[in-house]
Subunit: 239 residues, 2 copies
DNA sequence: ACCCTTACGTCAACGCGGTTGACGTTTGTC
DNA sequence: GACAAACGTCAACCGCGTTGACGTAAGGGT
């Protein structure tokens, strides 16, 4: 654990790095996201990040107590990107569907960061804003509090779970993905019908489906169930 | 990448280690699982594994080309444990529900391994057996091939996604979990009603729900949707 | 204008990680 | 009894996160 916690708000003295860059929380987070995108999870190391910033790796510790805290900041930035520009439209199902797809997309745009971030509570501004928005949509739609919390919980877990899983395969280093693909072709695609009739019969369909995400369908299921629950406690279901 | 791929089947010469143990693929995998369970993800290192086996870390490379391949083997062992003792009961919904919960439980029993394994295609015997079984249940129940593949895909993705997410929070090192909990208490539980009315109003409900898994509910939703799809194409839905 | 506190970038080092190549010992085969 | 193959061990390489000491520049107080 680093000793140097971060005062977090006001920084006064700014000294440029040897190569001229001026460090900032935002600059570090943005650069980390770019490196994750371009070089995969193996691009997310303190030393490489320092190199990309034109600074020594140890300079990062003046801004974040460690990679763990930097990861939280990245998670929050992803949530920020997912939420910017969103406004509630007044129809809770459409609103939630929109939010779910936004979160999923934001995480998939940075798969490596998503894997790191999905299971953490960042507790930062944008994550809180997203939670507040989701709960607001549900409560404004007339869900009683316990039901709203149930749906909220399922909704968030599902979005993060699928984001993490879908992202995980994108996040793997290239060699690992190629290895997995090769393993699949070498085994599943060649299983004899005598021992594995079901796989053999559907091999072509299976292979075509391999890289699609099941999230949109799962999201619709969840919203349908929520609508039923609301309808049951509140009068006829809507839309 | 290691040069020494593994002949994989017949090994002849066996030499005990300095401390007497005789290495085996199975022994290595079992020991790795035990260490993951007892010491968390930070227990899963080649050196510690070697130490626990009473062997030099480099001895592992005679059995697995690298940690990547060892991870595949662990994933397959988890699937093995999930499937042992399972037999189809003839009612597809009950069968799939049982399988889903088994897979979820097997992964959660070794959270650290689950996180590593969920996104990989192991291509080994037990993973293939599970896939064959799932497809078999669906096709025997009368699902036409494209529908069977759709449901199979959603089912597997969902089980792995929730297993990975639920496992991820268990898999975090203790300090990280405590940090997340502290962050939650320090922020969410104290948000004023003026700025975050929805979170403030439901804070107690939210906190109580924090550590429950949403998987069983999500699984039931998926099965209901599958039943509807089958019913639509095949006559009336059953059970 | 001066100092002097304080922020913060840099350097060198520590311990640990995966992985490899050379080396030596055991084992089964002929 | 010789030989080849299997395989455990050793030493080393390089990269990782992190830390503590050190230098240096920016601002505020006087």
């Amino acid at each position: 654990m680093a000793k140097n916690a971060v005062p977090e708000e006001q920084r006064r003295r700014r000294r440029p790095t040897k190569q001229g860059t001026v460090l900032t929380h935002d600059l570090i987070v943005d650069t980390a996201l770019r490196m994750l995108r371009e070089h995969g999870a193996q691009g997310f190391t303190a030393r490489r990040l320092g190199l990309a910033l034109g600074a020594d790796a140890s300079a990062l510790y003046r801004y974040f107590a460690g990679l763990d805290e930097l990861t939280r900041a990245i998670a929050d930035e992803l949530m920020h990107r997912a939420m910017t520009g969103w406004t509630p439209g007044g129809e809770w199902r459409a609103d939630l569907r929109d939010l779910g797809l936004r979160i999923h997309a934001a995480y998939l745009a940075h798969p490596q960061a998503a894997v790191l971030a999905a299971s953490r509570v960042s507790g930062r501004a944008h994550e809180i804003a997203a939670d507040e928005a989701i709960l607001g949509v549900l409560r404004d739609a007339g869900f009683p509090d316990p039901a709203a919390v149930r749906v909220y919980h399922a909704f968030v877990d599902q979005a993060l779970a699928f984001a993490a899983l879908d992202a995980a395969s994108l996040a793997l280093p290239v060699e690992a993905r190629e290895a997995d693909e090769a393993v699949w072709q070498a085994t599943y695609a060649r299983l004899p019908a005598e021992t594995h009739p079901n796989i053999a019969a559907t091999a072509r369909l299976l292979s075509a489906r391999m890289n699609a995400s099941a999230y949109p369908a799962a999201l619709d299921l969840l919203l349908a169930a929520a609508a039923a629950e609301r309808g049951a406690g509140e009068g006829p279901a809507q839309a």
